[in-house]
Subunit: 165 residues, 2 copies
């Protein structure tokens, strides 16, 4: 599948293909610190931030199967730290979409001159994501205890993850 | 001095008294991850966030000597985590203004139902702030290596600090 998958910048016209799975992921309330009932307008604003924010999609067989947003994590004297968010259509999970998006964003942020990347809120029970980021060179540099209220597991930790670029 | 100092909610009319020392602190580039040349309009928007954000000032002898902003640190399933920012007029440093503001915001966030507070970016060389937050029950739960470019010390760590409420 990876041979056929394309990662490309996402114009605003891609939003209708992103929103159905983004909404599903956010509504589940298991992995994102977003309001589970976020409106479509608010979600679109967050997923298409102004520059230096960049939005990407993973396209497979003509279908959008995942998306990523690359942003600054801090400003001013911390503006050399990037961050990113990732959504993979659950119907296409386990097929390397997240890894391909992650590798792409790492390369983009390195090219943009960021010195490191930081994820602020990786839910500790999202073991697939934690394992993916570890395999891409990220480390947990701290865990916010009981930072996330999981619908089944209750209060669980939020990992802060980091890698140099 | 503490006996005379008042901490109160800040209406927008307080901004002209806050901006001179806020600008001075931000321009120094030693403690805040803000653009050192932030415009007044942008700074005001950040310092007076919409609800549930709250802004406070410390008033001593009729003069505004410090200010704090109480915000949510995360949303949705992480909305029980608060955060805050503090600015103390350097001309009034070392007189308990930051401590009084800190104690006030801790009490406000507890009353607002937050379960914990998290600071995302405490500059490691800002030893006065780190010591103040430790004395108020915060712990460093992680440090972003080289997360902050200090004008004299070069790249230094950014502490993530936490306390339960």
């Amino acid at each position: 599948m990876l041979g056929r998958m394309l990662i490309r910048p996402a114009p605003a016209e891609d939003w209708p293909a992103i929103w159905p799975f983004l909404r599903r992921i956010v509504a589940a309330g298991e992995t994102f610190t977003w309001e589970t009932d976020v409106t479509e307008d608010e979600a679109r604003l967050r997923w298409f931030p102004p520059p230096p924010g960049r939005t990407f999609v993973a396209v497979d067989g003509g279908a959008v199967v995942g998306s990523a947003v690359s942003v600054r994590n801090h400003r001013g004297p911390g503006a050399h730290i990037g961050s990113a968010s990732f959504m993979v259509d659950p119907d296409h999970a386990g097929r390397g979409v997240g890894r391909a998006l992650g590798e792409h964003v790492i390369a983009v942020q390195r090219a943009d001159g960021f010195r490191a990347m930081q994820f602020n809120a990786v839910v500790a029970t999202n073991t697939r994501a934690v394992a993916l980021w570890r395999s891409l060179g990220f480390e947990v540099i701290g865990t916010l205890p009981e930072g996330f209220r999981h619908p089944r597991h209750g209060y669980v930790g939020l990992h802060i993850m980091h890698r140099r670029l």
